[in-house]
Amino acid sequence: MKKWLIVGLSLCLLACSNAPDTPISDFEFLTPRPFGYLNGDEIRHKIILETRNGVQLQRGGLPKRGAVNRWLNINQVAVNETKISGGFRYEINLVYQAFYAPLEVKMLTIPSFALPLAQGGNNASQTVPAWHFSLSPLRELSIRKDESGQYMRPDAAPPLLDNTGVVYGLWAALAVTLSSAGGLAYVYGYLPGLPKRRVFQRAAKRLASLSDTQIEQALTVFHQALNAVNGAPLFQHQLADFYQRHPPYQMADAQLRWFFQNSNQHFFSDTAPSSNGTLVNLRKLCAACLDLERG
């Protein structure tokens, strides 16, 4: 009988405990030191709230930014909500600012407020307790003029305009300009010590000065240009290897093959080929190669 009585009492105690039924599983009110504040200081409060059974905080019921009373303002209200198993976790950050000029150290109170909670049609609330803190005066009770005959602190000096960002921007623009100008100089072959980039530019100039009667010289000029790019004499059967080392020139494959056939006919054939249009086509090929050379 006694044993049953103990079991029954234990069950009653368990039933009375509120752990599983309350909508809140955790409530923490984190506050800073409650002393040593001065007029105009900010005070930061953090509230951590965890709910169960899908109970949610009603944000409309939170304190609003603005004046709480004549001496206390709320400057910031930030709520961070995360979902946890069975409910939600809220981190509420409140930034208060006190404007009070006590004649001596004074105990003040940030008023209590309720956090409204709801789940479907059911409402509940969690009270955030009032918080007491002491605020000190900044100056002695009797106000005297300073050496310059003033009661107050002087004006703030107008600051000079900051040019750091503009200077950085100027350097960045200079770097872009110089690097792009350098790139263009390289492409157009104006950089000393990089002759290969000017191979077809020089060839084009020389071709421009030749006439239709100087086909052999023209062909020689273009051969020399191709040899210079290849680094060794280039023949038609080596074109595939040449393209592997200089892929852009593959785009002019048909014209280059025409050039080698024409050159072979000129230099090695018994019958002299017609030179009609050869120089013009050669100039076009040189211009195409010049474009490829420039990228």
């Binding site: 105009g40 009373n69 900044l138 107050m152 107008p158 263009l184």
Partner: protein, 183 residues
């Protein structure tokens, strides 16, 4: 071909950006010279002020204040209250509060209490706004306290003080003036 176009575009953009940044740098340098000149008490032509940066106009307002041209100083500061930089805005509001407080002290010493009261209220408002922008603005804290001592606020902290009996004493406590202490 695309590479060439990209290089020309980069050169064009870089050159334009260099011109713009260079022009801005010259403008900043001129503004800073104007601020330095104004702070040294030198005159700066009006055309350099009208469209100048808020910092220059703040310097101009301080010159007005030194010359005791308070209305012009207040008008100049009111025009730049919404400066985009919060730190500068705090300084503008603090200096605005200083002008109001200075005028209030002058009026109080001349026993023009009714004229002093709204000026102190405006000074307190300006200091509060400065502190809302920068809560570590020590000079603003100090001068707000000066203003609050000059015109104590009516907000009562304890319930007893809010009783109707004590409300009668409000008239007395709102008369501006500093506690002088004992000799």
């Amino acid at each position: 071909m695309m590479k060439l176009i990209a290089l020309w575009a980069a050169l064009l953009l870089g050159s334009v950006a260099m011109l713009v940044q260079g022009w801005t740098l010259v403008g900043i340098s001129q503004s800073n010279r104007a601020i330095t000149d104004l702070a040294a008490g030198k005159d700066v032509p009006l055309e350099k002020i009208i469209n100048a940066a808020p910092e220059v106009r703040l310097a101009r307002a301080m010159v007005f204040k030194k010359q005791q041209r308070y209305d012009e100083a207040l008008a100049t500061l009111n025009l730049i209250l919404d400066a985009p930089d919060p730190a500068l805005q705090a300084k503008i509001r603090y200096n605005l509060g200083n002008i109001y407080l200075h005028l209030a002290v002058v009026k109080t010493e001349a026993m023009a209490i009714n004229e002093a009261m709204p000026l102190v209220a405006l000074a307190k408002q300006a200091y509060r706004q400065a502190l809302a922008l920068d809560s570590q603005f020590w000079d603003a804290k100090y001068n707000l306290e000066v203003a609050m001592r000059l015109l104590p606020e009516m907000d009562k902290i304890s319930n007893e003080e809010e009783s109707p009996v004590n409300q009668k004493s409000q008239l007395w406590t709102t008369v501006p003036g500093f506690p002088r202490g004992l000799p």
